[in-house]
Every structure is written in C-alpha cells, then in structure tokens.
Symmetry: C2
Subunit: 199 residues, 2 copies
Amino acid sequence: MNKTPNFREIRYNEKRDKILKNAARLFAKSGYENVSMEKIAAKLKLNKATLYYYFKSKDEIFFMIQMQAIEQANDALGKVLDSNLGPKEKLLEAIKSHVRIVTRDYITGTFRQRELILPRKLMIKVIAARNRFEENFKKIVLEGVEQGIFQEDNWKLAVMSILGALNAIPRWYSPRGKLSPENIGETISAFVIKGISID
Amino acid sequence: MNKTPNFREIRYNEKRDKILKNAARLFAKSGYENVSMEKIAAKLKLNKATLYYYFKSKDEIFFMIQMQAIEQANDALGKVLDSNLGPKEKLLEAIKSHVRIVTRDYITGTFRQRELILPRKLMIKVIAARNRFEENFKKIVLEGVEQGIFQEDNWKLAVMSILGALNAIPRWYSPRGKLSPENIGETISAFVIKGISID
C-alpha cells in the first residue's frame, strides 16, 4: 500500500488550506458573525456546493483554522523542547517561534476571536490542543527552574503571564508597525528572561 | 436644584447594578449566546417587562458590564497615577489594583468574552474606554523610563505585554486556586519590575 498522497489528495489539501486562509482573513476583517458561507464562497469564486464539499459548516472552518494554528505552535514548541539548547535559549526560541505564528495575517485574525463562539464539542478540542501547548511551554520553564536558572516561586504564574502576553499580540500587532515579529519575539524574551531568572 | 440622588434614583441604580452582576454571572456560566433576556429575568425573579424597563437589550447589558469594569479599572489607575509614589511602587499598585478588578467573579466572566460580540457602535465605546486605560498605564511606565528606572528600549512593547498578561488572568484564574488576587498581583509585579528595570 502506498501512503504517499496522490495528486488528487494534494490538490484537495491545497484547496482546503486556501479556503481556510481566505476565510480567516474574512473573519478578521468583518467579524465571525458577519461572514456567511456565501461570502466565503464568493471571495474564493467557488459556488456554495463546492465549498460545502470541503467544509460542512462555518464552525468547522473556524475550528480548523484554530486547530491548524495551535498545531503549528505545538510542532514548533516540540522542536524547541527536544533541542539541546539551555533553558534561556529554549525560552527565547519558544517565544520567537510563537510570535512568528501569531503574527501571520490569517492567524492574527483568528486569534482575535475566541474559541468560545464554537459549539461545545469543537471548543473542547481547541482547548485541549491549547492545553497541550501550555503544558509544553511549562516544561521549558520548569527545566530552567530545575537547573537553578529560573526562579522557583510561582513559576507557573510566570508561564501563564508569558502566554498571556504572547496571546495578546494579535490584538495590537500591525504588519505596518515598526517592530518585526522577530524584534517583538526578541524583546519580549529579553524582558521575560530577565524577569524570571535568578540573579 | 438638588443634585443628590433621591431614594427612587438610588433604588433604580441599585437594581440596575444587581441586574448587571447577575447577568454577568449567567454569561460567564452559560456563554453570552446562550443567555436570553428571559433567562436573565428568570434568574432575578423579574418579569420580562420589568427587565426591559432597565435595559433595552442584552447587548446593552453586556456593554454596561464591560464599561463598568473598565471604568473601575480607570478610576483605580487614575488614583495610582496621581499619587506621590515612585515609578516601581506605582507600577506595583497599578498591577495589584487591576488584578483585584479582573478577578471579581462577575467581571471575570465578562472579560472571558470579547467586546467583539457587541454591535459596532457599542464596541467602539468599549475600545475607547480601554484605550484610555492603556494610555494611563503607559504614563506610569513612562515616568519610570524618564527617571532612568525602567528600560527605554521598547517600553511600549513592555506595557502591551504587561497588559496582555493581566487581561489573560480571567481565562485561568479560579477563586479556589491557591493564589489570592493579592498574591497574583504582587508576584506578577515582581517579575515585571525585575524584567523592565535598569540594573
């Protein structure tokens, strides 16, 4: 059996991805409530039936965008966690890669919204994926705590504060601002690492 | 002309306030979309007509809750800003008072939701009030920058990160957790002040 995706599958996946990105931009621009399946189809010059062939509802589209973004963040974080870097460097890389993801235009728009608008069944999956991210982020800081590099007291509160700061970026970030995602990641890391380090 | 509110006005205001708090708790528990004016009236043992006498829509209730919370935060911040404290102490007090507000049960619920669900006209007012808060918070940090106590480079990004961390608290805070709002405020302040101070 051949597990390599065939041409048809690749096209199908590319199409789905294109729909997700364009829908995300529409949600960002007009607000989730104000975007219908019709509008998504129109933006992509698809007829509605074709759109429904790929996604059975607007909720499913929004859910997939959120999941894709969180999975990207989880993958990036997993690589950092498995690397041979020291705790400070790991935290720097983790923050930088997360900033890179949350500042992508189509992701920014989605993260301005909340998973709370999803039906409960889907919302729970988003929250679970987000919790995995949070757990991995905690592991990075905990390594530093165990090595006596980061402060032990209330280190979990430090992690929640860092994640709060990072996840707020889509609310104020502008690609026309003077700071690049790289600058933002490095600057926040510098504040954070100084703030939680022992010394 | 007597500007002191009379008994009738006081009762009216108390009643409005009671409606807001109870509605906020319902929104927090069941999600904004799933709470109707009927449910709010039922919780308060009011008939629907009485509820409509106080608020003309669910949007107006949600809007008032958000505005009340932001105005409380603005008042508290204004007092800190006008005080004679030094920049580090001002920042500590500003953070502590904000944590105290965002951890109040009925406010926590509201801040888990977003102003994005409001009609545009109301949303703009919420954002304007929030911007005033942000501007005042920036003034506190800027005082420290000007006095050579806080780092000048990217101080605005530091402020946005602090606010991101603080505004994320309603997403994870539990009154049954081991940290009190006071502990949370002091701990976050300690991380932040260490992170942004020169030395």
